[in-house]
Amino acid sequence: MSMDRKSFLKITGCAVAGAIAGGKLGGLVAGAEDAEYLPAPGALTARRWGMVVDTRKCRKQEGCKDCIRACHQAHNVPQIPDKTREVKWIWKEKFEHAFPSQETEYPNEELHGRQVLLLCNHCDDPPCVRVCPTQATWKREADGIVMMDWHRCIGCRYCIAACPYGSRSFNWGDPRPYIPKVRADYPTRTKGVVEKCTFCEERLARGEMPACVEACPEKALVFGDLADPNSEVRRLLRTEYTLRRKPELGTRPEVFYIL
């Protein structure tokens, strides 16, 4: 038997190609091609989103948790009673924990023990993005938001180890039983994935300010475009003395604090 390999391969190739083409001709794959994908027209956009937290204003409402509640409700964040397994997007922490290098043995009365609002810093050079093996977290080119794709996260928790700010939370179990009021317009997460603040990118797309910013009764959270010299955030940075958390690490957080 003489076997002509070339002709065999040719025929096989034709058969496969033919089968696929046949499928196409059968009107099976047509339809999806004429779709055009667009960003939302009324979306809030910026070249570099950033935030200034004015802790002085925040302090006026001692014990206020409006921003936290708004965020966590908007994003189906579970309220887990076990503090060591909490999921937090935005939370309050004592000053000396938020800014450990600012603490001295002669504490400032005003600052020591002050509750500081913490959230993801959306660093300009985020270590979490650097370490993620699947690009489940990445920095958006357009506006600098450090995004997460919960469909892709494999739950390796490398990003948690990498984040120097404790901004990331892991779902140790199924979060749903701990979500007091589930919203249908935002997904919950499933067990085994990491989550964190996304600067409310879904609200920005709808033309709304982040939930926390909107909820603050004192307007202590100012959100805007760091790349725009005329923006409110830039004005504050120009006029006020602000701090970033752990600047020595070179991550360049985009969340600034006025103390």
Partner: protein, 386 residues
């Protein structure tokens, strides 16, 4: 494919051991099924200590895997003929250890269903991607080398020439797996415990002590349980390797201690303090760490005195001591110590739960099964040639 027919015939003792391993694997597997169902909540991990027993075992075992180079390199590069009988044992040890590493990573994942994402979305800027590449590469290299050399041995012919470069490649590759694993940790800005350039060398030094110790123990065990005798000379040489590696390892640790405490930077100091004296009353690891230190010192003494090192019984004890000391150091202290205190200064202690331990033992049992089967095959092949 590895002559598995040799592994399915064996004595009653062999089968009892295999059965026992399967029982441990079974218990581990059932617990893993539960972890799949419930999530990592069944472990003792938490917000602050996000990696624990699983990843620690992984780190330790990467070292064991890499240590195969300590028999491969002298044998192939320096033509140390005495290692001719043990080289393949080292390679199979590497195969078993790398497999365990991969399993430990797998069981540590929150979403194991999505493990393929690492390959589907390759991300060169992530060290974990490179770890995947180097570990799987090392597994393949060792599998190919062991298979090809063993089947050539069985046929009584010289191994094919192309295997030489593959073996040579496996030498730097072994170094790479542990280096890359060290990079996993010491590339993280906020974790000062790991932020030390000496981490990779330290890993390698401890690996080259722990791995050959294990190999010595295996040789002794094989001598006791089977007809196979690796001979005195390879064990002696391995013991010398362990001695030097252990010395270098302790030296490196002392360098770390000097740097941290002489510079006095609190963020660096706190982790050591947590491990060796405890922080704010949190001191659950303190006894472990001191045990490790004492064992390390004892091991050094026993290793350095030639008369003791050459005594088989003492050497066996020494190897166990070295192994335990380094296992505590790397398998417990290194990972947990890096997470406590947290970047926000929180001190949350971690203790593995029973299911977590069961899963861990299950993975170790898989490793033991692999090594048993491969050693059985090797010995059967050699027996039929004898």
């Amino acid at each position: 494919m590895f002559m598995f027919e040799k592994a399915v015939v064996g004595s009653r003792r062999y089968w009892l051991w295999i059965l026992g391993l399967f029982a441990v694997i079974g218990v581990g597997f059932l617990n893993y099924l539960r972890q799949l169902e419930v999530g990592l909540a069944i472990t003792g991990l938490n917000r602050d200590v996000t990696w624990g027993l699983y990843i620690a075992q992984f780190t330790f075992l990467v070292g064991v895997a890499a240590s195969a180079v300590m028999v491969v390199l002298p044998y192939y590069l320096h033509d140390w003929k005495v290692f001719s009988r043990v080289t393949i044992l080292g390679e199979f040890l590497a195969i078993s250890a790398v497999t365990m590493c991969m399993l430990f990573i797998f069981v540590d994942m929150g979403q194991p269903h999505r493990v393929m994402n690492v390959i589907l979305h390759p991300t060169p800027h992530s060290i974990m991607f490179w770890d995947m590449v180097s570990l799987s590469g090392y597994l393949i290299l060792n599998a190919v080398i062991a298979l090809v050399t063993l089947s050539a041995e069985r046929k009584g012919v010289a191994p094919p020439n192309w295997i030489k470069p593959v073996i040579l490649l496996s030498i730097p590759w072994a170094i790479s797996i542990h280096t890359v694993t060290a990079f996993l940790y010491n590339g993280l800005p906020g974790r000062s415990f790991w932020l030390t350039a000496i981490l990779a060398p330290r890993f390698l030094a401890s690996a080259f002590a722990a791995g050959p110790s294990l190999l010595i123990l295996f040789c002794m065990l094989l001598r006791k349980l089977t007809w196979f005798d690796a001979g005195r000379e390879p064990i002696r040489r391995l013991a010398v390797i362990v001695t030097y590696a252990m010395i270098v390892n302790v030296f490196f640790v002392l360098m770390e201690v000097f740097t941290v405490f002489y510079s006095g930077i609190p963020e660096h100091k706190l982790h050591f303090e947590y491990l060796f004296v405890g922080l704010d009353g949190h001191n659950s690891l303190v006894p472990w760490m001191w045990t490790s230190v004492i064992l390390a010192v004892a091991a050094l003494v026993l290793l350095i005195v030639p008369r003791w090192r050459r005594n088989d019984r003492i050497l066996a004890v020494t190897c166990v001591i070295v192994f335990l000391s380094l296992w505590i150091d790397k398998g417990i202290g290194l990972i947990v110590g890096g997470f406590v205190p947290s970047p926000l200064g929180a001190i949350t202690e971690y203790a593995p739960t029973l299911p977590e331990i069961a899963i861990t033992l299950g993975v170790w049992a898989v490793g033991a099964l692999i090594i048993t089967v491969f050693y059985k095959i090797t010995l059967s092949v050699r027996e039929s040639l004898a």
